[in-house]
């Protein structure tokens, strides 16, 4: 009898816990107001995605919407599980938040799917190809109350930069995870552009972190240099690849600032905090009622920044062309 009581009590507690969550924000909904409640759904724990979130909140703050003052943020992380992502989306929608910020493609799709009927605007970031993800149509127009920023790599600029730094290199290697849609579409773009800069592309597909070491050995035996995408699995194992590459004195190029910090030679890449800020500003427009999400086309990073690690360059015996060096947004490894 006692056990039954405990069961009943626990069930009751669980239901109350859920209900409590439900009721807390049901009073929101009028258009002109002083404070906002937004939801942030991030697909996984990941450095770049965390930077997006940080940048997003900074972007909002720059527009006068500050967490703690006039902004309540409900931040949820799906821990890379689609089912959990779906539950978060439903939960944020049932909370009737004013706007949902979705970080990474699976989250963006999940949130949009849930928010579509409820008419809650969705602002996404770190979605490489919003058109392929069906969040925007072929002309880049939003398919609904959904828009944001793409973290599409500046592939052409990257190739141009590598050509300038390594005038004699012929083969360029890329390792990517076959399951990451972003990587696959980036590979496609590389394929179409390498000829123009007189490179030959050697691609190496992997499925898990466990494959990285073997794949790196194989790739390094075939190429003159390596360039990275924003591939989650590969980036997570970047130290392994850098170690092996340094042994063979093969330069590794990065795709974003963090990668250059930890030892990539250089990158013509994305600063995710800046990308987040750009996204935050778009969200602010929607919240303030200046422009609907459906009225704003998705944006890509306006100007890719050049980042270089001069210590790595020195170790590899590579001299960075002067005009390139001068254009660097940030340079690491030389003491400052």
């Amino acid at each position: 009898m006692k056990k039954k009581m405990v069961t009943v009590l626990l069930t009751a507690a669980m239901v109350t816990a859920m209900a409590a969550g439900c009721g807390s924000s049901s009073d929101s909904g009028s258009d002109k107001k002083e404070s906002y409640t937004i939801g942030i759904e991030q697909f996984a724990e990941h450095g770049s995605l965390d930077n997006c979130r940080e940048g997003f909140l900074k972007g909002l703050e720059a527009e006068g919407i500050k967490e703690g003052d006039n902004l309540t943020v409900k931040y949820k992380n799906a821990a890379a599980d689609m089912g959990t992502a779906k539950q978060i989306s439903d939960s944020l929608v049932s909370d009737k938040v004013d706007l949902v910020c979705a970080i990474a493609t699976p989250s963006a799709q999940s949130v949009y799917n849930a928010a579509m009927k409820a008419d809650i605007p969705v602002i996404y970031t770190a979605v490489t190809d919003p058109v392929a993800a069906e969040l925007a149509d072929k002309d880049g127009k939003p398919v609904g109350e959904v828009t944001g920023t793409s973290d599409k790599l500046p592939v052409e600029e990257q190739l141009k930069m590598i050509r300038e730094m390594l005038p004699d290199a012929k083969k360029i290697g890329i390792m990517y995870t076959t399951s990451e849609a972003n990587s696959v579409s980036a590979i496609k773009e590389y394929k179409s552009l390498v000829k123009k800069y007189d490179f030959e592309l050697v691609e190496k597909g992997i499925t898990t972190t466990a494959d990285v070491s073997l794949a790196a050995d194989d790739l390094l035996s075939k190429v003159d240099c390596i360039t990275n995408l924003t591939d989650n699995t590969v980036v997570a194992s970047l130290p392994t690849i850098l170690d092996k590459a340094n042994e063979k004195k093969i330069p590794v190029f990065g795709s974003e600032i963090e990668q250059v910090k930890i030892g990539c030679l250089a990158a013509e890449g994305i600063d995710y905090i800046a990308l987040g800020k750009q996204t935050g500003k778009m969200a602010a427009k929607v919240l303030k009622g200046e422009a609907k999400a459906s009225e704003q086309n998705f944006e890509t990073i306006t100007e890719p920044g050049f980042y270089v690690n001069s210590k790595v360059a020195e170790d590899l015996g590579i001299t960075v062309p002067e005009d390139l060096a001068n254009s660097a947004v940030e340079s690491f490894g030389d003491g400052n």
């Binding site: 089912g83 439903d90 069906e134």
Partner: protein
């Protein structure tokens, strides 16, 4: 309210997956890791067919069949090549990763512009406006119940008896002049068919195929089966399938509570603690039954 609806929807979709795992784990006593591959297989087939304009209802059948084929392959690897059960599943799961990529074309296929079982002209006509917010739940509920009832019926046929016997005591099956290997293969086929069907429904509800969606599916299903069967331990076999469905809903409810009320980082830990609480409660019950007996 829509929050509760969401838990039920998710719970019932994963409940179909759990029914499949119930067959392998509880009835066949076969730890089948194929599930992590056959769940997205159903979704991949669905994505490929829907984008080519296939009727969404037909995808349900085809996904089931595709999953069954995957199950048969696992079975053949295990029975004919004499590979250990766990390893056979791992081999198929690994192979399915690539197969799924080929079927779907890419790692992520959105289905926003396609007609699905939840969103088509027929459904709009049938479901009255009052029930519109619950349309998805109703459809999922109907599908889950159909699976449950068919599985119950099957387990009470002669073939179903044999399936139950093979996990229970395979010596008896051999004594009955039946090849136990074939029955295991049949069980794996039905199990993975159900799992792929769940993947198909999930993809249509979530309107996207994503290659990584199967990661951890086995664990979720297993937890649902164990929660369900522990809580409703005393019920007869006919109701175990119901218990499994409820177990899956409880799993999703635990995740939901953890998601809503706790820090994102703490989510997994809180979910784990909630499972433990659920299991301890049900274990105590069992003890009581034993002392009374």
């Amino acid at each position: 309210m829509s929050f509760i609806t969401s838990i039920l929807e998710q719970g019932l979709i994963y409940g179909i997956l759990a029914l499949g795992i119930y067959i392998t784990y509880k009835i066949l006593d076969f730890p089948d890791l194929t599930v992590d591959g056959s769940f997205p297989l159903g979704a991949a087939i669905t994505a490929a067919l829907l984008t080519r304009g296939m009727n969404p209802y037909i995808t349900l059948v085809l996904s089931f069949l595709a999953g069954a084929v995957a199950g048969i392959c696992t079975g053949l690897i295990h029975v004919k090549c004499k590979v250990r059960d766990l390893l056979s599943g791992i081999i198929m799961m690994t192979a399915l990763w690539t197969i799924n990529l080929y079927i779907a074309g890419t790692a992520n296929v959105p289905l926003f512009s396609q007609k699905t079982i939840f969103n088509n002209d027929l459904m709009e006509k049938i479901i009255p406006d009052v029930l519109a917010p619950y349309a998805t739940l109703i459809i999922v509920l109907v599908l889950a119940l159909i699976c449950k009832v068919l599985l119950d019926l099957y387990l009470n046929t002669k073939s179903g008896f044999l399936l139950r016997a093979v996990g229970d005591n395979d010596v008896l099956v051999v004594s009955l002049a039946k090849d136990k290997g074939n029955i295991k293969i049949l069980g794996l086929a039905i199990s993975n068919g159900l799992v792929a069907l769940a993947g198909c429904i999930f993809a249509q509800e979530e309107r996207v195929f994503e290659i990584s969606m199967g990661t951890g599916a086995m664990v979720i299903g297993l937890a649902s089966v164990i929660i369900g069967t522990s809580i409703f331990r005393k019920m007869t076999l006919l109701h175990t399938t119901t218990a499994v469905l409820i177990g899956s809903v409880i799993y999703k409810a635990c995740v939901a509570v953890a998601l809503r009320n706790f820090d994102p980082q703490a989510m997994k830990l809180v979910t784990a603690v909630l499972f433990l609480v659920v299991l301890i409660i049900s274990m105590d019950r069992k003890k009581k039954v034993n002392t009374n007996a």
